[in-house]
């Protein structure tokens, strides 16, 4: 008995239902909670599409970090909600928007149904060249060898986004600590969890990072886990967010990109091109880049969730 179509069908229905619900529901808090659930179900869809790396990323970032970010915002914005809800558009605007959005969906659906057969793919080329990287995970090979530039630029995106977030700080708090202050409840459950979980989380993160060379996993997923552990410790009040003026924070942010750039430039004399790896050294170099990136990603993601400096340093 093949249950797969049933599973896929119900998954698609569920995903669409939750998506529509997050749009339709009145209460923003409910909507963002719905979005976190949506992210987790989408991760299942990624598993069904045989993209385990993407599934892990979607679950960690789409469901996890984005969820935390939106939920925190929804709580803070709650008092304004009813005021802004008054700006709701007239029914004919809604109808027009629905028709147009439907037209876009319809066009996309037609395109999906008429995609060429057999599908073009770069899988054979990846298979042909993956040996030279020494990696077993094709996705990691694409991310760190064939299209390393994208990955480098994406690390830059994270840094730029954080700079942009920091730029929003009120002048008087510049250089201070991001986010609100969380008080430690010595015997609270959250503090208990924040003491128990991070050691486990760090072990799991290192595992996810390490297997990423050959199996699904890698620096993003591991970095996200580390960020989550740090955020947990901060929100439980076990530790405080560092001040953004500190040099080590800034160094931590750019270490990943800097190591990437240095190894990239070293490739010019030793391997004949920027971002190329010398024969036989590809895998260790890639692991070094990934390790540095993982730490930078973890710090950047956590600070992105926490927002601009909102407190003086000495508090």
């Amino acid at each position: 008995m093949n249950m797969a179509p049933l599973v896929d069908g119900s998954l698609v229905v569920l995903i669409l239902a939750v998506a529509i619900w997050t749009i339709a529901v009145r209460d923003s808090f409910a909507a963002v909670v719905g979005y976190a659930i949506y992210g987790l179900m989408l991760a299942l869809a990624w598993v069904r599409l045989a993209a385990i790396d993407a599934a892990l990323t979607e679950a960690a970032i789409g469901g996890g970090l984005t969820g935390v970010l939106l939920i925190r915002a929804a709580v803070r914005l709650r008092p304004t909600e009813s005021v802004v809800a008054g700006d709701s558009p007239a029914w004919f605007v809604k109808a027009l928007a629905a028709v147009l959005a439907g037209a876009v969906s319809l066009a996309l659906a037609v395109v999906v149904l008429t995609l060429p057969e057999p599908a073009p793919t770069l899988a054979p080329q990846v298979a042909e060249h993956i040996a030279s990287t020494g990696l077993g995970n094709a996705v990691t090979a694409v991310l760190l060898a064939f299209r390393a530039t994208d990955t480098l630029l994406e690390a830059v995106v994270l840094v730029f986004a954080l700079i942009a977030v920091w730029s929003l700080a009120p002048d008087r708090f510049w250089g201070g600590r991001p986010g609100q202050h969380y008080h430690l409840e010595a015997n609270g459950m959250l503090a208990y969890l924040a003491r128990l979980l991070p050691p486990l989380g760090i072990v799991v993160a290192i595992y996810v990072f390490w297997v990423g060379a050959d199996l699904p996993g890698g620096k993003f997923q591991a970095g996200t886990l580390l960020a989550a552990m740090w955020l947990l410790a901060i929100m439980a009040g076990l530790t405080d967010v560092p001040e953004v003026r500190l040099v080590w924070v800034r160094i931590a942010l750019v270490t990943g990109s800097a190591v990437f750039l240095i190894i990239g430039f070293a490739g010019v004399p030793f391997a004949g091109a920027f971002l190329a790896y010398p024969e036989g050294y590809a895998k260790p170099l890639i692991l070094i880049i990934e390790a540095a990136s993982m730490l930078s990603i973890a710090v950047t993601l956590a600070l992105l969730v926490l927002g601009p400096p909102e407190r003086r340093g000495q508090s």
Binding site: V104, L122, R147, T149, D150, I163, A164, G272, Y277
Partner: protein
């Protein structure tokens, strides 16, 4: 498919490494500024931008000497598996323009964004210099990347660097403008990304050069082009998708406005050019190009009229940017032949490029001048600018020269651009664009005259200045404006000399006179107060009608800039573009 891939034997060319340096230098600058912190951010910017200028020049020289596209295969991997950096004439020109304008902005803002001595690091100066390099790095990536996904990442970099420049001062109004900008830009980039995904699904590559060989007209390509085009238009703020532009550009500090207006909107414009002329020349159609040109014309009319209605100088300049963006899209229809199927370029592409360069320099100069006036007076109410010309002659001269350059007076770059486009309109039999090209200058003259009439007015009591402006800043504004005004002389090399006549030829003088007269009429008719200062003293019927027209344009603009209207327009445009592509496609 794999057989096709081998058709393009691409290798890194001799000067290719320069492209890597041009890509990495600004990013390294951002990192260095972040770590060194404080007043060092300015030092880093002051050091890297001249270096970048040297790099841009070197790339240009390399290009001219070898006569072929400079290419670098990153990691040694050739597309479609790898990513190539490529610089053709278009990229090289944009790289050079960007660094020149950035250098000007950096010199202009040297004193404005100085870390106070009692602080180790202050937010606004530190952020300004870091973001300046961030914008630069993002733009360089846009100009050089040869891959649709890398370009998506570059576009996002540009957005993330541009948005905080808008809200640098932290007023709630600019924060709101920045949020509208960000949300609309995100919608734009996700639609762009959607188009790229579809193209990969059909052709198995995101590389521009390989796609250009593989794409065939069909449902999928039409959908992709329509989605990507409107996505990019949203980021460029072409009418009617300009909801965020006026408040964002007017609310930012002058130096930031200059960057946003002169450079940031050009990034997505550049990608539309790439998409239409390099990737999809066989897919885009005459009718779709007419639609694009039509939007451009509407932008010119609405932007200019609403600019005339403004009471504040910076808002006036921001609306003038909206109009000038319209100009940049006139080259699209003119690159087509009425009878032909695909774009034929001619001089239209050169004209458009020249327009973008002259606009970048002139608009930077204009925003700087407006900013200086604001800084000196503590306000920028156009009605109260009397006496400014006497107190700040250099600044006013910079504004005037920038205005002349935008109007297309001989020998400005815009003049030569207009000539080239008029020639293209003539050659392709599209007389209707001639009207837009000529009429646009009258509109531009309108708001330039409006401002000049105000600043040149005499003042009975002495003008009180709240702060002294730096002479260096004034000179930089003047230099950029003057550069734009003299651009045609520099551009004469690649263009036949017959396009430029002497500035004192009777024909040119006649056109200039007509433009000025028309502009003055528009200004006196449409602006809120009469040109001569006595508001409403002799309000004739004509003036009341004109005021009514102006008011209705303003109202219309207010409606168009509402979120729902703009986003619905965006969707409608996507469908219209799709339709224009299907309808105009050659029968297969």
């Amino acid at each position: 498919m794999s057989a096709l891939a081998t058709l393009i034997p691409e290798t890194t060319t001799a000067g290719g490494f320069l492209l890597v340096l041009a890509l990495v230098l600004p990013l390294a600058g951002v990192f260095a500024a972040l770590i060194l912190g404080g007043c060092n951010a300015r030092r880093v910017a002051m050091l890297t931008i001249p270096l970048g200028l040297a790099l841009a020049v070197a790339i240009g020289v390399e290009l001219v000497q070898t006569g072929q596209t400079v290419i670098y295969l990153l990691g040694g991997w050739a597309p479609p598996l790898g990513i190539a950096l490529r610089a053709d004439g278009l990229s090289a020109a944009m790289l050079l323009t960007t660094t020149v304008v950035l250098l000007g902005v950096a010199l202009f803002a040297r004193d404005d964004f100085e870390t106070p001595e009692n602080l180790r690091e202050a937010r606004a100066p530190f952020m300004f210099w870091t973001l300046l390099m961030a914008v630069w790095g993002a733009l360089n990536a846009v100009f050089l990347a040869g891959d649709l996904f890398t370009l998506y990442v570059a576009l996002e970099l540009l957005t993330f660097a541009g948005v905080p420049l808008v809200s640098l001062e932290g007023h709630s109004e600019t924060l709101r403008a920045a949020l509208r900008y960000l949300l609309f830009a995100l919608l734009g980039s996700v639609l762009y990304m959607l188009g790229a995904v579809l193209l990969y699904g059909a052709y198995g590559t995101l590389d521009i050069a390989i796609l250009a060989e593989r794409v065939r007209p069909g449902m999928l390509c039409f959908a992709a082009v329509a989605l990507m085009t409107v996505g990019l238009l949203a980021k460029t703020a072409l009418f009617p998708l300009h909801l965020w532009l006026p408040p964002a550009h007017a609310g930012a500090p002058a130096a930031a406005s200059a960057v946003l207006s002169a450079l940031v909107v050009k990034g997505s414009w550049f990608l539309v050019v790439r998409l239409w002329f390099d990737v999809m020349p066989g897919v885009v159609t005459f009718s779709a190009a007419q639609l694009l040109g039509g939007l451009g014309s509407a932008a010119i009319v609405v932007g200019s009229v609403v600019a005339l209605r403004q009471e504040r100088l910076k808002l006036l300049v921001a609306y003038s940017t909206m109009a000038q963006i319209g100009y940049l899209f006139l080259m699209f229809p003119l690159a087509f032949d009425v009878s032909g199927n695909g774009p034929v370029h001619g001089f239209a592409l050169a004209g458009g490029l020249l327009q973008v360069i002259s606009h970048a320099t002139a608009k930077a100069g204009m925003f700087m001048a407006a900013g200086l006036i604001y800084a000196a007076l503590g306000h920028d109410r156009i009605a109260d600018l009397a006496g400014v010309a006497r107190t700040m002659p250099i600044t006013v001269l910079a504004f005037a020269l920038a205005g002349l350059a935008l109007m297309g007076v001989v020998p400005s770059g815009a003049y030569l651009a207009k000539k080239l486009l008029l020639d293209a309109a003539d050659g392709s039999g599209q007389w209707w664009w001639t009207i837009v090209l000529q009429g646009g200058a009258v509109f531009t003259a309108g708001y330039v005259v409006l401002v000049l009439a105000s600043v040149l007015r005499r003042r009975s009591e002495p003008l009180l200045l709240v702060s002294r402006v730096s002479r260096l800043s004034e000179l930089v504004a003047l230099a950029l404006s003057a550069g734009s005004l003299l651009l045609a002389l520099a551009a004469l090399g690649p263009v036949p000399g017959e396009f430029v006549s002497s500035s004192f030829a009777p024909k040119e003088m006649g056109v200039l006179l007509v433009v000025f007269l028309g502009g003055s009429l528009l200004a006196s008719g449409l602006s809120r107060r009469s040109l001569l200062g006595a508001a409403g003293a002799n309000a004739g019927v004509m003036r009341r009608i004109a005021a009514g027209v102006g008011e209705s344009f303003e109202l219309a603009d207010g409606v168009i800039r509402r979120w729902q209207f703009a986003s619905i327009s965006l969707l409608m445009l996507a469908i219209l573009f799709g339709g224009a592509l299907v309808w105009g496609a050659p029968p297969s």
